[in-house]
């Protein structure tokens, strides 16, 4: 749409004023697509595919689909530029070509996401169609058992428990740190901010190693859901602090000044004005951190141990989470186990989407109420 508008404006170069004036004024279409645009696109696409098919099947036999796509795309852009150049000026041609390229890139990204999701669901479908997959654990299902037996209920519960503990640690800690960073600026706050920013880039395996070395080896606590939750917390904390810090700094100074003018203390202002104002942004921060934490495999790999059975006690015994279950399933040579792995990945994606929707709902609702 916007590109059409741009073209229309370019269509009136200053030098053509004289010729324009002689013709009767015609109503300019600002929005919408013209049939010629559409036909140009379709024609270029058909031409590109046909030409590529000819090239690929007759002259350079390349078997791979990637080569076909790349050649077809290049030809498409070229043909489209040619078609457009037949009845447009060079500026418009450049504009159209840029549009096609940008849209192609966007489409590629979309296609990738769709492919990943579809592929995961398709490979996991044999497992997902059995209801037991969602309510049973794997304690009575081995590599030789059919998909009618066993499921990932233990991993779903493990993920929920671990992320709950991690959130219980990181939300108070992260928000307090963010408030500190924005409310008490100074050399120490700058130092903390630098550390937090450095921690965002921390490789996740290092977080796992840290908890493994301190909590499990030095303190002698066994591998458990709690240790895994601690490792996840380390991964989530910097992201939460950073995003919350950014959001808190966006709170208009006038609001705070008004609160001070009314005689409230600094903490009262933070509690009553700053935090409620930035509620939606803070929710986003929590979501981002949760998204990071819920998909982590490597810290969990070192700290949670692995079990095939349900364990709801985070303090004793190994507790498995969804990413770890995926990791272990797909390593198996058995096709049924691999199907379970993809099914588990699908469950994980679904769970993430669900949590996001929930958080958005909670975060958005209160703002409307206010």
């Amino acid at each position: 749409m916007t590109t059409t508008e741009i073209r229309e404006t370019h269509l009136v170069p200053p030098g053509d004023d004289a010729t324009e004036a002689r013709r009767p004024e015609a109503r300019r279409l600002v929005g919408g697509t013209r049939l010629a645009d559409l036909l140009g696109l379709v024609g270029a696409a058909v031409g590109a595919v046909a030409l590529t098919a000819l090239l690929v099947t007759q002259i350079f036999p390349v078997a791979s689909g990637i080569a076909f796509t790349v050649i077809a795309l290049g030809l498409f852009v070229g043909l489209y530029a040619l078609l457009v150049s037949l009845d447009e000026r060079p500026v418009a041609v450049r504009d159209r070509v840029a549009m096609v390229v940008v849209h192609t890139l966007a489409f590629t990204v979309l296609l990738t996401i769709v492919f990943i999701v579809t592929f995961t669901f398709a490979r996991g479908l044999p497992a997902l169609v059995h209801p037991n997959f969602f309510v049973e654990d794997m304690s009575l299902a081995g590599p030789l058992d059919p998909l009618e037996l066993g499921g990932v209920a233990h991993a779903i519960m493990g993920t929920l428990i671990q992320i709950t503990i991690a959130l219980a640690i990181t939300v108070p800690l992260g928000l307090t740190a963010a408030v500190f960073l924005s409310e008490i600026p100074g050399p120490f706050a700058r130092f903390v901010r630098t550390i937090v920013e450095a921690m965002t880039a921390l490789p996740s395996i290092v977080a796992g190693l840290f908890v493994y070395a301190t909590f499990i080896l030095a303190l002698g606590v066994e591998k458990s859901g709690l240790a895994a939750a601690l490792a996840i917390s380390i991964m989530m904390l910097p992201i939460m602090i950073r995003s919350a810090d950014v959001v808190l700094r966006l709170v208009p100074g006038t609001l705070k000044e008004a609160a001070y003018a009314l005689g409230s203390s600094q903490w009262r202002t933070v509690w009553q004005v700053v935090l409620p104002t930035s509620r939606s942004g803070l929710t986003t921060g929590v979501i981002l951190a949760t998204a990071r934490g819920i998909g982590e495999t490597s810290p969990v790999l070192l700290t949670s141990g692995f079990t095939a059975s349900m364990n709801l006690d985070p303090t004793t015994g190994p507790m498995v989470s969804l990413p770890l279950a995926v990791f272990q399933f797909v390593k198996s040579p058995e096709p049924t186990m691999i199907a379970r792995g993809f099914g588990t990945a699908a469950v994980l994606m679904f769970l993430v989407v669900l949590l996001f929707a929930l958080a958005r709902f909670i975060g958005g609702r209160t703002r409307k109420e206010r």
Partner: protein
């Protein structure tokens, strides 16, 4: 904020309640056994996972994380797991680092046996090759970058029936530390030390290279490194990756549906890594029984690599379970009870399922050694397991070694250089030690009978695994091939003389029988031979895997087509451009 807090608090409370109720209910089920945790080898994990599931019904809970052998050993050392499963014992020097022994008492016990298989992806003329035969030396040369093309004479010599393509060999190795690498390296270090050391040296490792769990890779050699068994098997199994070969546990190749190479054993037969072949091979395993040695109870596989049984698969090995022998570092008597009961289970009954899982059952010598070790676990309820009660598939209730009696022998045509002799039905010498596969003219006659069996077409079509391979080759010419089979048999009678004489010099035998067959000459007897593993029946096949005619002489044609495309393109593009230029000129 305050408005949502109660809701969140209620949610938390509900969750906590759920946790408490279920946590309270769980222990009732496992009243007699406490859970034990283990970690280690991913090589063995498929079997352990199945056993773990099976003992769950006895109330035993065994948690096993397949994080890799090295991690398993480290975790056992630091006391974070109760047992570890590993292919390499402690105390070995790997990549210049000595793996120190754990401070707590421990013992080794065999747990899972299996063969390292060479899975490959190779097609000839659109037909997948499924019956590749390789000698140990060739395998080593492939994985040390000495042999780089599939049509290398060394490979062709052992596969006279295959028209091998001129295609680069892409060895796929493990990028992570792994037990498969360790087992493969153990074998290479024992059997082909000079090649292996030369390769290690080129890769910047110290020599002698010995056992390593990290495969050394030299950049630019065309090797591909992939993580995990699934990774290497998956890479080879991609249809486009023709020419790849990897070493992987047999179960992965089996489930992926790709063929594995038959490897030449000490007695001159090409055998696959089937469960029985590996178990027979492992009958030659010796266990270090010197109690004062660091390597007490570790394996000595030289007897396996050099096993002279015709059925023995040379790259057979087994993994250890490392068990604690004292209560220390979180290991208790109660855990010992669980671990002991689990050990009795997997040494005996559990081995029943080894074969379906793609492994091989532990043979009698290793089971006996293992039963001895179980007693060392503190807290174990020691059982006086008689061999007859063990219910292990490799030996009968009266302690007879079933395996040694029942395991199928390789068919005679899997003998080295057997192409002709199998067809000829003469010149076999069963008891002979002729490793080179040279056949005396005056062989025994019982093989002639074998050959007669083979001629019945029914046998040829049996759905055996290897049969497929040959059928593959015959796929294109099935119609004629079948018809010729009948007449070909007659030809067999006449042909063998020439063939067995060819065979006398193995080099010549390979090449001369290999090529003329294809020209469709009258001597069908020289054709490749289909053998069925189960029956040992061999049949002559006329149709061969055919090399697809390479599109040679296509250059002129391609140029013409290219020109055609250019003309086409110009016809589309030039007129509008010309008209535009003209129009713009006119406008001026």
């Amino acid at each position: 904020m305050s408005r949502t807090l109660p809701a969140a608090r209620a949610l938390l409370a509900a969750l906590a309640l759920a946790v408490l109720t279920v946590a309270g209910a769980a222990p009732a089920h496992a009243d007699s056994f406490v859970p034990v945790n283990g970690a280690g080898s991913s090589w063995s994990s498929n079997a352990v996972d199945q056993w773990r599931r099976n003992v769950e019904q006895y109330g035993m809970r065994v948690n096993y994380a397949s994080t890799g052998s090295s991690d398993g050993r480290n975790q056992f050392k630091s006391g974070t797991v109760d047992f570890a499963i590993t292919e390499i014992p402690y105390g070995l020097k790997d990549s210049g680092v000595v793996d120190t022994l754990p401070t707590r008492g421990f013992a080794y016990m065999p747990i899972v046996a299996g063969g390292t298989a060479f899975m490959y992806n190779l097609s000839v003329g659109g037909q997948r090759v499924t019956d590749l035969k390789l000698t140990g030396e060739v395998v080593t040369k492939i994985f040390t970058g000495v042999i780089t093309s599939w049509d290398d004479p060394a490979i062709a010599k052992e596969n006279p029936g295959l028209a091998l393509p001129k295609r680069a060999i892409v060895p796929v190795v493990r990028s992570d530390g792994s037990g498969s690498t360790a087992q493969f390296a153990t074998w290479m270090a024992a059997k082909h030390a000079s090649l292996w050391d030369a390769y290690c040296k080129a890769a910047g490792r110290s020599t002698p290279c010995g056992v390593t769990s990290n495969f050394p890779v030299i950049a630019g050699k065309g090797f591909v490194a992939q993580p995990n068994s699934q990774g290497v098997a998956g890479y080879v199994a991609q249809t486009a990756n023709i020419g790849t070969i990897t070493y992987v546990e047999y179960s992965y190749a089996l489930k992926t549906g790709y063929p594995v190479a038959k490897v030449l054993n000490e007695s001159g037969y090409f055998v696959g890594p089937t469960a029985s072949n590996v178990a027979v091979g492992l009958l030659g395993a010796k266990i270090n029984t010197n109690k004062s040695s660091d390597q007490y109870l570790t394996q000595d596989l030289t007897g396996v690599f050099g096993n002279t049984d015709k059925r023995a698969y040379p790259l057979s090995s087994y993994s250890y379970i490392v068990i604690p022998t004292e209560t220390k570092g979180g290991f208790t008597q109660d855990k010992g009870k669980t671990l002991g009961a689990f050990s009795y289970y997997f040494l005996c009954e559990g081995q029943q399922q080894a074969e379906v899982l793609g492994y091989s059952p532990l043979p009698i010598n290793l089971v006996e050694a293992g039963l001895e070790q179980v007693r060392k676990i503190p807290g174990v309820v020691a059982k006086d397991v008689k061999i007859k009660d063990c219910n292990n598939p490799t030996f009968s209730t009266d302690g007879k070694n079933l395996l040694a009696e029942k395991a199928p022998y390789p068919s005679e045509c899997d003998k080295r250089g057997a192409t002709a002799s199998c067809a000829g039905g003469e010149g076999k010498d069963d008891g002979g030690k002729d490793d080179k596969g040279t056949d005396d003219g005056g062989g025994t006659d019982d093989d002639g009978a074998d050959q007669d069996d083979g001629d019945s077409p029914g046998d040829q079509d049996g759905g055996g695994k290897d049969d497929d391979g040959k059928d593959d080759g015959g796929g294109t010419d099935d119609g004629t091939g079948d018809g010729d089979d009948g007449t070909g048999d007659d030809g067999d009678g006449g042909a063998p003389d020439s063939d067995s004489s060819d065979d006398g010099s193995p080099d010549g035998g390979g090449s001369t029988t290999g090529t003329p067959d294809w020209s469709g000459g009258p001597a069908y007897g020289g054709g490749p031979v289909v053998c069925e593993d189960d029956t040992g029946v061999c049949v002559n096949v006329v149709a061969l895997p055919q090399e697809a005619p390479v599109r040679t002489g296509g250059e002129g044609r391609e140029l013409m087509l290219l020109a055609a495309v250019a003309v086409l393109f110009a016809a589309v593009v030039v007129p509008p451009l010309v008209s535009r230029t003209l129009a713009s000129r006119r406008a001026r």
